[in-house]
């Protein structure tokens, strides 16, 4: 998103106009400036440290502000951070305005709700459990305003139909913001207590550690996925023409699995099964893989060892689950003429039958050194001809249905990091909009 379209600019300007009245009545007595100023400085510092490194937003300070201050003062807390923190992408001005106006409006609404329910007295008197009620209402208001604004921005950018996004955004952000709200409430209670702001600062430490560990987790996960990719690329080093084949088989396996209505975890496992199905080719001598012309029976037997090599290689990776049996059995045929074990019918694991269809489909529709690519219709006709003898008819029908509905766009190449992450996880986390 390098250039900001005019509609988005207009939307940001409208939100800023809406936020302006919230900011227009600052506190009047000189002493009442202290708390907002401290909180704003704290928020700016946290944002600078947390947002830049881990790509999240630091809500506990904002919510503590909403629980401690009158609405107009609370709305000021996020503003300095938005103006001071560096912006990653250009143009900077609309981004800064958006980053200031969005949380300002949300905090203002939260503080308003909190005040109306008598929350500030409850916080000052540490009146538990009553204090939880206004705090909960304020968190809800905060979340609602944030998701409404985010959904509006997406709609203005023409990305997705707003109604569905709103519901998804709200569902995703409510739980984390609620935890942040509890931390914010504790911060506010301690701030007003005799122990003062120093003890309130301590509340932030576990949150920071949590962010830190979470960022480590994401780094490690990304590294893990890169390693899986490296396993595939190690095959590519030996066997040039399969480039991209693994990813496409993963894609086709996912198509079939979704069509069969398998649950999300199994679909993910099948994606890995498709990607890694040929990993055993690492064990086949490079000369054989690159050989032009027909293979002798001896050479063919060596190549047919690759499912067993692959299984041997990945059997230590426990998260792959049933993908490991899919790798072992993806060359079995329904009539028992396949390899390595010559299993027949239902004895072949379901996931292996899916990968077998996906593998054959991609082999036919892509160019190999020994054959030209065939059109999708011809490949489908061939699959249907062999259904029952080689392939499970149920899987073939599922593939045909999925292809008819979604089409086949094998755009994935070996260099694209497009697999391994579920779509839901690839979308930005709560509040990570820039």
């Amino acid at each position: 998103m390098d250039a900001v379209p005019a509609r988005t600019r207009g939307y940001v300007a409208a939100v800023a106009l809406l936020a302006a009245p919230c900011l227009s009545r600052p506190p009047d007595t000189p002493g009442s400036w202290l708390a907002p100023a401290l909180l704003a400085a704290l928020y700016a510092a946290c944002e600078h440290a947390v947002h830049r490194r881990f790509g999240g937003t630091f809500y506990p300070v904002l919510l503590a502000g909403a629980f401690l201050l009158p609405p107009s003062a609370a709305a000021l807390v996020p503003v300095p951070a938005a103006l001071l923190c560096p912006v990653d992408h250009r143009p900077a001005l609309p981004r800064r305005v958006w980053r200031a106006a969005r949380p300002a409006l949300a905090v203002w609404a939260a503080a308003r709700v909190h005040e109306a329910l008598g929350g500030r007295d409850a916080v000052a008197g540490a009146d538990f459990p009553y204090a939880l009620l206004p705090a909960g209402a304020a968190v809800l208001a905060f979340c609602l305003v944030l998701t409404a604004l985010d959904g509006g921005l997406r709609a203005a950018a023409g990305l997705v139909p707003p109604c569905r996004t709103w519901r998804a955004l709200l569902a995703r952000s409510l739980a984390p913001v609620a935890v942040h709200g509890l931390a914010g409430l504790m911060m506010a209670v301690l701030w007003r207590s005799p122990y003062g702001p120093v003890s309130a600062l301590l509340v932030l430490l576990p949150m920071c550690v949590s962010w830190w560990v979470f960022a480590q987790y994401h780094r490690e996960r990304a590294a893990h996925q890169a390693t899986i990719r490296a396993l595939v690329q190690a095959v590519d080093i030996k066997d040039g023409y399969t480039r991209g084949h693994s990813e496409r088989v993963g894609q086709a396996s996912v198509l079939i699995a979704r069509e069969l209505g398998l649950d999300d975890d199994r679909v993910e496992v099948l994606r890995f099964a498709g990607i890694l199905h040929d990993v055993g080719k690492l064990g086949v001598p490079t000369r054989l893989l690159r050989k032009d012309g027909p293979l002798t029976p001896e050479e063919r037997r060596i190549i047919e060892l690759h499912p067993e090599y692959g299984h041997e290689m990945v059997r230590g990776i426990s998260f792959l689950g049933e993908a490991r049996t899919a790798i072992l059995h993806h060359h079995e045929r329904l009539d028992g003429t396949g390899y390595p074990y010559g299993l027949a019918g239902d004895r072949i694991p379901e996931c292996a039958r899916i990968v077998a269809v996906a593998d054959a489909f991609d082999a036919m529709t892509s160019t190999r050194c020994y054959s030209r690519a065939r059109p999708v219709e011809a490949a489908v006709a061939e699959l249907e001809r062999c259904a029952g003898a080689h392939f499970d008819p149920r899987m073939v029908r599922a593939l045909v249905r999925a292809l008819r509905r979604e089409g086949w766009r094998p755009a994935v190449t070996a260099d694209e990091p497009a697999y391994g992450t579920a779509p839901a996880e690839r979308t930005p986390r709560t509040g990570a909009h820039r």
Partner: protein, 426 residues
């Protein structure tokens, strides 16, 4: 008496004395005791053991520390003494440990000893003075800072205790263990200290309601730590599988990468490398032969140490290129790339990998006397190829009885050896 026995006896004495005194005087503030006991039990129930995460029960630790430093509940001064703190924490921890003992998962005796001693220390520093009214003059922020200082002292002594226990259990030198523990303190340990202090303060202000409200952020930390540990474990498995690729491709004999990794880590420990450095070393040792995958014809038996230097360096560079694509720490790729350089130009990890790999290749099929001869060859080669201090360390490690060397394995769930006699073609 060993240090281990000393620690256990001290913990048992503290526990017995506290229980006896509490039985004598009876429980004060039963409601508070029950609430904190419940918190600690829940914290212990969610404990898990892992080779990396040292604070395996952060909630239990924070709850027991905050009970040790509890001065008031909703403005009313508390009445309990140090002995009661130890008793309540002990009973709660025992209750929470029942499922762990039942399934035989985690070493419970050490854990309990640590818990009793650290909590006893904190309570003994705070409760007698508080009950005498020494802290009445400390009000407001000063009191908060006092609690924080006490907690920091407690966790520092706790790390020393943990390092001593680990030293007794594994036989690794105390210094690096202490360093690792202190570094662990900066991560989740600081969250435990802060939560302990905040819980004590928040209960003083808002009463027992603060406990459930405050569990949540720490539970969040615990959840992320567990997920992190899980993804680390699968990552390690994947790296190990990638390393096995060379064995299956017939480039190297079965188990070579794993043996080089285990021996390298042992040498790295002997040379006092710390946690993250050991991880880099282990990954690099696992993947040190990966460059051979790029060769059209495999090196006979994968014995790279016998090749000309230029060829060795070419394979090392090819390997580094593959490792760079795996997304591991670039330091790992660096070690793999430089494993064939002359040792004065190498980082320590690369020196270790080079020497251990050469030793493994030379000693593998050489019969019973082969190990000593291989070591002699390495010593002769120290003039240019192998670093003398690494070869000496390797000799020390090899001189240890096999069980002592293997008593400190890094836990690898689900990582199995290749079946013996599994022949790869090639």
């Amino acid at each position: 008496m060993t240090v281990l026995g000393l620690i256990h006896t001290a913990a048992a004495l503290v526990a017995a004395g506290s229980v006896a005194e509490t039985l004598w005087t009876g429980l004060a503030d039963r409601g508070d005791a029950l609430a904190f006991g419940l918190l600690v039990t829940v914290g212990e129930l969610t404990r898990w053991s892992d080779d990396r995460a040292r604070q395996a029960a952060p909630l239990g630790a924070a709850g027991s520390l905050s009970y040790a430093l509890l001065g008031a509940v909703a403005g009313r001064p508390s009445q309990h003494d140090a002995a009661q703190v130890v008793t309540v924490v002990l009973v709660a921890a025992l209750l929470g440990a029942v499922p762990h003992i039942w399934s035989g998962r985690a070493p419970t005796a050490d854990h309990l000893a640590r818990r009793v001693l650290t909590v006893g220390f904190a309570a003994l520093c705070f409760q007698p003075l508080y009950n005498k009214g020494v802290f009445t003059a400390w009000d407001g922020p000063a009191y908060a800072l006092l609690l924080l200082t006490l907690l920091a002292l407690t966790s520092l002594s706790g790390t020393a205790l943990a390092a001593a226990l680990a030293h007794c259990r594994t036989g690794r030198p105390f210094g690096p263990l202490l360093r690792e523990e202190v570094r662990g303190l900066l991560g989740i340990g600081s969250a435990v200290v802060a939560t302990g202090a905040v819980m004590a303060l928040a209960v003083a202000v808002a009463g027992l309601w603060a406990l459930p409200v405050f569990c949540l952020p720490l539970l969040l930390v615990q959840l992320s730590v567990r997920r992190y540990a899980a993804v680390r474990a699968t990552y390690r498995q994947t790296i190990a599988s990638l390393a096995r690729a060379t064995e299956i491709a017939g480039c190297t004999p079965a188990g070579h990468a794993r043996r080089v990794a285990a021996l390298s880590v042992a040498v790295g420990r002997d040379l006092r490398l710390t946690g993250p450095e050991l991880t880099v070393l282990e990954y690099a040792a696992l993947m040190h032969d990966i460059g051979q995958l790029s060769l059209v014809d495999p090196v006979p038996a994968g014995a790279t140490a016998a090749l000309p230097a230029a060829e060795q360096r070419r394979i090392a560079l090819l390997g580094g290129a593959v490792v760079r694509q795996t997304g591991v720490d670039p330091a790992v790729a660096d070690v793999v790339e430089r494993q064939a350089d002359p040792y004065p130009e190498q980082p320590l990890a690369a020196r270790i990998v080079r020497a251990v790999n050469a030793y493994e290749e030379k000693s593998r099929d050489a019969g019973p006397r082969g190990a000593r001869r291989a070591l002699e060859e390495l010593r002769l080669g120290t003039a240019g190829d192998y670093a003398p201090e690494v070869v000496e360390s390797l000799a020390r490690v090899l001189a240890q009885p096999r069980t002592a060397r293997e008593r400190v394995p890094v836990r690898r769930p689900g990582w199995s050896d290749p079946a013996p006699g599994w022949v790869t073609h090639g």
